[in-house]
Structures are given as C-alpha cells and as structure tokens.
C-alpha cells in the first residue's frame, strides 16, 4: 500500500512540474505536438507512474528509482564544447551515419556525409516544423498513452529526439547509428522521443547506443515510434551500456503494415535499472516480426523486458527470444505476451525465455503469456531457468580447460544465440567483444569507475 502512495505522490509532483513549466515545454514545439499533451495529461492523471499493482509492472518497483533528486531537462542546454571531441564511438570500423543525442536533445552539429538526399535525419523538434505532412501523419499515432503511464509521461514532456524518414522505395545500406549520451554534472531526468518512418518498400538499419559519460544519476524515459510501411525492412539494434546509477525506461512502439519485416534486438550490458517495453502491432497480413533481447545483470541491477506482440491480421509471423544471465543480487524480469485477435487466422507466434542464475541471491521472474481468440493458429511459448550444465562443465574440464574458462565459454555459448542475430558486420564483432568483457566482469568495473580512462 505504501508503495502506491509514494508513487502516486511522485506522479502528482510530475504533473505539477508540467503545469508549472508548460509554457517552457510548449514554446519550442508545434501546436500539433502540443495537442497530444492534453490527452497524455489526462491519461497520466488516471494511471500515474506504474505501480507493482499493475500486472505489467508486477515485478518492477519504480519507486526507488523515481524518488531520487533529479534535475529535469526542460530545454536544450547551451553546449559550447564539441561533442565529438568528448565522445568517440569505439568501433572505428563501423561505418555509419552517426546521430548524437545529448541528454535527450538532438545535437545540432551532426553532419551526415553522402546521405541520400531523399532521406531525412534530423531533430524531432525540427522535423515537426517542416510542414510536409509525414511527421503529423505518424507522430503520437502508435505510442498509446492509455497503455502505459510511462508513455503518457513521455508524451507530456516530449520536445526533442531523433526523426528519421526513409521515403518510398529507398534502401539505405549504411546503418544509422543513434548515440544517446548522458553528460552532465548534475543528476538529470531526461525525456526523449524518437520517430522512425520507413515507407513502403524501403529498408533501413538502425543502431542505438546508450552511454553515460559521467558518474551521475540519470533517469531517462524514452519513447520510440517506428512505422514500417508495406514491404519495408527495418533492423533495430539497441545496445545499453550505462553506469550503475542510471535508470533507463525505454518504450518502443512498432507498427507494421502488410508484408513488412521488423527485427529488434536489445542487448542490455549494464545499467542500474533497465526497463524495455516493446509493443508491436501487426496491422496487416503477411508481417514478420522478430523481437529479441539479451541481458546481463549483476550487483543490485534490475533488468526488465516487456514485449507485447499484437496479431491483428491473419498470416503474420512473430518470434520472441529473450535470454538473461543473472549474478550477485540482481533481479531480472521477462514479461512477454502474444495477443491474437479474433480474425487473425493462420498466425504463427513463438516466444521463448531462457535464464541462467549464477548466484543464490539472484532472482528471476518470468511471465510468458498467450491470449488467443482465433482457432487456426500455431502459438507456443517456453521459459526455463537453470544454471550452467554440470555435465558440460565437466566435459570441458576433462579437455584441460580450467573451470573459470569453461564457465565463461558456456555462458558465451548461451548468449551467442541472440548475438548471432545481429546483422551489422562490425557491430557484431564489437558486441561479441563487449559481451566477452562483460562476462569477465571488466565492463561493470569500468562502468562503476569514476576515472573514465576508456
């Protein structure tokens, strides 16, 4: 009961913060963007911050994370330094269009060499002012604020983020890399909002990297709306690597049209609290959706993955695979749902969650769900929790591999199923390297260190 009270108190504070600063927040946005705030406020007033009483948040307690002192970022900072001097992506071979985002605001000095001119990559605020109709057609259409209090909160405060538009028939070979950087000497609460529109017959590959550059607490609440037009192809890879004090609430809403193909893969390497909500709507026949995730948690981390795939039309195919390795006092949650509407016959939907617990104190909650209203379907789900296979360990030991190395090898093999899905060549190698480092405990060491020698 107490939790509910405090969270509702925090929700009131957030509402007050909005009403006090609404002028400032709305000043830079177009009327169209502002028009969503009324409904968002209404929904947020109704639901507030999600509490453990809500079925989807049963295992995630947001209270401790929202309680901290945060400075809300309500307008873009005047940033005099050159961001590219402070931050360099450490995958030199990776050839991408780099989009830097600082504390939730689009970095104005981003330059894209050789970007086909039909393609637009720009700040969300900027995009909303370009009156070509695409923005207004898609913004706010997929992130249903009545589904989730966090989405409502984001819509309430949303000002900027990244906007990507791939027009009809354009296939962009080079990946777009969005780098979200938290950089400040204050504890920050960050809101960012992205919109990715891939029109019919287009193709795009997006890589998202989340980084914290300072040893401060950050609470970021992001919403990404993705629209996949007919026959389009989108690959969306997300790598989360932040410090232990950070809280990342990431909400992704994917809307797919006929015969489109979307693969999203979220790799959570490090962070204090990570909550990934993925809502997918398969709105036309013939869609294919793959939602994957891999997470590593130790210390007191909490990593929660929520995936909801809604099959609204027949002949769609979806696949979910989430794997996790938990150590120390970490807690992990998987909550997946397959919803098959009444007329979505010939649906094929699969869901799997495998977890390895390495310590006695680690805890995993898994809730794979099926909700099916059509009869001609093939749906299945599976969940397992276990530990490293003793027989396999023994086998490796007999081959002269020491125990530490053998354990490492087995964990890597476990994780590899998800990693191997990544289709961006140099990124894959980098992920393998990061996972390797993570499994050896080096990554957490760096993330918790204040020197920042890397």
């Amino acid at each position: 009961m107490e939790t509910t009270n405090t969270l509702s108190e925090l929700s009131h504070q957030l509402v007050d913060l909005f009403t006090e600063n609404s002028e400032l927040i709305e000043k830079e946005s177009t009327d169209y963007m502002n028009s969503f705030r009324t409904k968002a406020l209404e929904d947020f007033n109704k639901f507030g911050l999600p509490t453990k009483k809500q079925e989807a948040y049963r295992y995630t307690n947001l209270e401790t994370y929202f309680k901290g002192e945060y400075f809300p970022v309500l307008s873009p900072e005047n940033f005099s330094l050159n961001l590219t001097d402070i931050f360099k992506c450490d995958i030199p071979e990776l050839d991408t269009y780099v989009v830097l985002v600082l504390n939730g605001f689009y970095y104005n000095k981003n330059i894209y060499h050789y970007l086909p001119e039909e393609v637009t990559i720009t700040g969300l605020a900027q995009a909303s002012k370009n009156q070509n109709g695409v923005f207004n057609k898609h913004y706010g259409k997929y992130a249903d604020t009545s589904l989730d209090g966090l989405a409502a909160l984001n819509t309430l405060f949303a000002q900027d983020g990244v906007y990507i538009h791939i027009p009809k028939g354009v296939e962009l070979e080079k990946p777009i890399q969005i780098i979200n950087i938290c950089y400040s000497f204050k504890n920050l609460r960050i809101t960012h909002r992205n919109l990715i529109v891939a029109e019919d017959n287009s193709k795009v590959n997006v890589v998202v990297c989340d980084h914290t550059l300072c040893d401060k607490s950050y609470l970021s609440n992001s919403v990404t709306e993705i629209y996949a037009g007919e026959n389009s192809y989108i690959a969306y890879n997300k790598i989360q690597n932040e410090n232990i004090k950070s809280t990342q609430l990431s909400n992704t809403f994917i809307h797919q049209e006929a015969n489109s193909h979307v693969t999203s893969n979220t790799i959570s390497l490090h962070g204090g609290l990570i909550r990934n909500n993925v809502y997918v709507t398969l709105n036309a026949p013939g869609c294919e959706n793959n939602t994957y995730g891999l997470f590593f948690a130790d210390d007191h981390q909490h990593i929660a993955n929520y995936a909801e795939i809604r099959h609204m039309q027949p002949h769609c195919h979806s696949d979910q695979l989430f794997k996790g390795i938990l150590d120390d006092e970490a807690t992990g949650t998987f909550n997946g749902k397959i919803y098959v509407a009444k007329d979505a016959q010939k649906t094929e939907a699969y869901q799997r969650n495998n977890n390895i617990l390495l310590s006695k104190t680690a805890k995993m909650n898994s809730k794979p769900q099926l909700e099916i209203y059509a009869d001609d379907v093939k749906c299945s789900h599976g969940a397992t929790m276990g530990q490293l296979d003793n027989d396999a360990l023994f086998y490796l030991r007999t081959r002269g591999i020491n125990e530490k190395e053998a354990r490492h090898l087995l964990m890597y093999a476990f994780a590899n199923e998800v990693i191997s899905i990544t289709n961006v060549p140099h990124l894959k190698e980098r992920i393998i390297e990061l996972v390797d480092k993570r499994l050896r405990g080096e990554l957490s060491r760096c993330n918790n260190c204040t020197i920042g020698c890397t």
């Binding site: 680690a362 099926l370 009869d375």
Partner: protein, 482 residues
C-alpha cells in the same frame, strides 16, 4: 474446414446436460441474505462449539472489508449476496444410522446420478460421503474404515466428535484471510467431508465425496479437510452436479489437505456442475479454493481435475511444498463450451529442499468458451535443487472461442531448474483426414483426438473416474466440433 465437418462439430458440442433434474424433497432453508445473525443461525443449527462460531464471525468481519477481485480473465456478473440462501438441508433425521432411514427420494437421486450409497455394492469399492445442498446425507463404509483407524465422516460430525483435530488443522492451509471467497466460505460453510488417515495406514479403498446442489436460490459452501499422518496414503475423489436452473448459483468451497512425513494424498475431481444453457443463461459459479501442504519430508500431494461443468470456473488447486523432497503434481483437463468461462491452474510454492513439481494442463475451448491457464511456480531462497516441469496446452475448436495462458515463474534460488512450455493449436486437418481415410467418421475422429490429447491427465484418474471422465469429455463437447 468444410461444412460437413462444421455440422458434425456442432452436433458433438451441442448436447444437453443430463444431470439437470430436480429432486422433490422437503428442504429446510433459512431466509435469504447474509448478516451476523445468519451465521449464528447456521452455527446454532449445527450445534457448533464456541471456537467455530468465533472463527466464522472473524471470517465474516474480514470478508466485509474485502472486495471481489477483478484480476481473473473472466466476465462475472455481479453477485448479490443478500439474494442467496446460505443454508439448505433436505429434511431428515440427523445422521441416519442405516440406509433405511434415508429419504428414498434422496436415495433415488444418488442412484440416478450413479452414486452407490448401498454398501452391498461392494464391487465398486468406494466409500462415499454424499452431500446434498448444505448437508451430508450419508457416509458409507464408515465402520469398515474405522477399524483401521480412518475417520471418514461429514464435517459437522467431525466437529462434534473430533473438535481437537478440527481446531488444529482447519484454516491452517487456507486461512480465512486468504481470499474473498475463502473468507466467505469460512463464515458460512455448512458441511463437507472430513478425512483423517492415521500413521502408517494405507487406505484400502477410494474415498469419495459427491456434491449435489438441489434447492433453488441457494449457494453451496462446503469444506473438505483431509489429514494424512506419517507414512499414510489415501486417494480421494470428488464429483458434483446440479439441476438446470435459469439463475446462477454460487458454489464457493474450500479444500484443505495436510500431508505429513512420507504421506501421499491423491485428490481427483470430476467437476460437472450445471454449465448453463447454450445461450449462457444460468449455470453454477464455481469459485473454489483448494490447497494442500506437504508438511513433512518426502510427502506428496497430487491434484487431478477434469473440469467440464460450471458457467464460470475459477480455481487453483495448489501445493505448498514445505517438506524436503516433497512432491506436488497437478493434472488438469478443462473444457469450456458454449458460453462457459474458466480461469484455472495451480500454484506450486517450493520451500523445501529437493522438492519437485509437475504441472500438466490441457485446455479445450469450443463454442464461445474462454479458457485460461494461470499458474505460479515460486521457488524460495532456501529451496535448493528444486525441479519443476510445466506443460500447458490449449486446443481450440471453432473460431469464436479463446485460449489463454498466464504462467508466473518466480525463482529466487540458483540451483532450481524450471521449465515451462505451452502450445495453442487446433485439431489438425491432416489428423482428421488420416482417421477418415481409415474409415473413421469425423465425429468419432474428433472424439478420438481429444481423448488422446487429454490422455496424459485421464491416465492419472482412478479407473472408475477415468471412464466417467472420458464419457463426460465427449458429452461436453458434443455438437461443438468444428
């Protein structure tokens, strides 16, 4: 699927409920409604000791502070508790000594239902406690069982004769604070069965309770308590039917099982309450709390249920695995046809080391039926080497029904191995085609496939029940195959 097949399916799932008759017997009832006085009346009628009345009143006061939960995947019409008769008993002499003293009408009712109350029918080898409305009518084979030290009688008799056992165990597995309907039952429960197996005794016959709702506008609230002492074994069966009535009737029961060291309890249910008519009118609301505790080491509790009746079924037979090496099992077949709804499953709470649990759940939905599996597997911090396997399959017959799976896995120990898998599909056209090709008509083929699908669970039932359950499955689905 082709039209021909649809037609046969419809025929198969459209059959009538055959236990829907009403017995014309004088019934003693108390006025409708629920208040403290009603509870005092019930308690006085049963001549209960002080502690039981206290228990009831505490439960009632607690119930008043509670609200009907809304989390299940069910559409439940509002229940007016002031419109229910909480106590109804067929008028007869208190605890008949021999069968001759039982009202012949009642006897014929149970004969019609196929329940043997005459002890001459030794062949069946089942001891029966028959409960009609709120009262236990007759318990058979009492003397034979008493020779072994087994106590098998109605709950009210146990209250009179073994108050110490009741005091010790009642509410120890399902406290009155447990949930909304457990609190309601604790306040108003009328009768039920009581079973006590002493140390080292293996119960030689199947024990059985048969529940029958007869009177109109009544709710049935019975309580079953089974205690298996060290090294004992018992297999317990439960069956139920009700007449066809247009209004919904509430059945909120509690079953508590205590298994001490090395004890084994097998509890089987064939639930066939009146499911309502094809339009979804009438039928029994079956909101039951069933829970067993494996208190001692190496103990075992096994739940088997075949759920074909009731307009709404809402129950989770659960096991608390407290003893080391204890075992919990749950086997279930749940059928929803026409407008029936079911939200059923189990909870396996692993507390003891090396405890194991198995969950096999088979859901079958037809017509407009909505069938949900909801289950929890929880492993506590100190429960080392826990093993769980869960399998939940759903079969959909027809495009207007739904099948849902909501498993919860909460694991707090790294040595646990937990597996859960579920599938949802319809009957394969190729399977039917194969049968057709072998000269088996579609209707028989579908029956065959469904029986094969449910076999894993039906196999766990005692033989007499398995036959009945198989028939029941076919009847429940009659006319719905499509």
């Amino acid at each position: 699927m082709n039209v021909e097949q649809d037609k046969i399916l419809e025929e198969v799932t459209g059959s009538e409920y055959k236990y829907g008759f009403i017995t014309d017997v004088d019934t003693e009832t108390i006025p409708r409604g629920l208040n403290e006085d009603v509870i005092r009346i019930i308690s006085a009628k049963k001549n209960e000791p002080e502690f039981l009345l206290d228990f009831r009143l505490k439960a009632y006061n607690h119930w008043q502070t509670m609200q009907m939960p809304t989390w299940p995947h069910l559409k439940i019409p509002e229940i007016n508790y002031q419109d229910i008769i909480f106590y109804a008993a067929p008028k007869q002499k208190v605890s008949p000594a021999s069968l001759d003293e039982v009202d012949p009408e009642i006897l014929s009712t149970f004969a019609k239902l196929g329940i043997p109350l005459e002890e001459q029918k030794r062949l069946t080898g089942i001891a029966v406690d028959a409960v009609m409305d709120s009262i236990s009518v007759k318990t058979t084979f009492r003397e034979t069982l008493a020779e072994l030290g087994i106590i098998f009688c109605s709950f009210s008799e146990a209250v009179q004769e073994h108050p110490d056992l009741i005091k010790k165990y009642m509410g120890s597995v399902v406290p009155y604070t447990d949930n909304y309907f457990a609190a309601l039952n604790s306040a108003v429960f009328s009768d039920g069965s009581f079973c006590f197996i002493p140390k080292g005794v293996r119960c030689p016959m199947e024990l059985s309770t048969y529940f029958r709702i007869n009177a109109a506008n009544t709710g049935q609230f019975e309580r079953t308590l089974i205690i298996a002492e060290d090294d004992s074994y018992v297999s317990y069966l439960e069956g139920c039917t009700a007449p066809m009535r247009d209004e919904n009737q509430l059945h909120a029961a509690i079953v508590e099982i205590v298994a001490l060291e090395n004890a084994e309890v097998k509890y089987s249910t064939v639930q066939n309450w009146y499911p309502g008519n094809k339009e979804g009118k009438g039928g029994v609301f079956n909101f039951v709390t069933k829970r067993g505790i494996c208190k001692g080491d190496n103990s075992k509790i096994s739940w088997t249920q075949v759920e074909t009746g009731s307009a709404i079924t809402w129950k989770y037979p659960s096991c608390i695995l407290r003893g080391n090496n204890s075992v919990g099992e749950f086997y279930s077949v749940a059928v929803t046809n026409n407008h029936q709804q079911a939200d059923t499953g189990t909870k396996m709470i692993h507390i003891g080391k090396n405890s194991k649990s198995t969950i096999i759940s088979k859901g079958i939905s037809a017509g407009f039926g909505q069938n949900s599996y909801r289950g929890l597997v929880k492993v506590l911090k100190n429960a080392d080497n826990v093993r769980n396997f869960s399998q939940c399959d759903s079969l959909l017959l027809g495009d207007k029904c739904g099948a849902h799976t909501f498993p919860y896995l909460e694991v707090d120990n790294d040595s646990a191995i937990i597996e859960h898998e579920a599938t949802t599909s319809k009957i394969g056209e190729d399977q039917i085609f194969y049968c057709n090709q072998r000269g088996i008509d579609t209707e028989t083929a579908i029956g065959l496939i469904i029986n094969g699908y449910a076999k894993e669970v039906l196999n766990k039932l005692p033989m007499e029940f398995a036959v009945e359950a198989q028939k029941l499955l076919q009847i429940s689905l009659e006319g719905s195959v499509g």
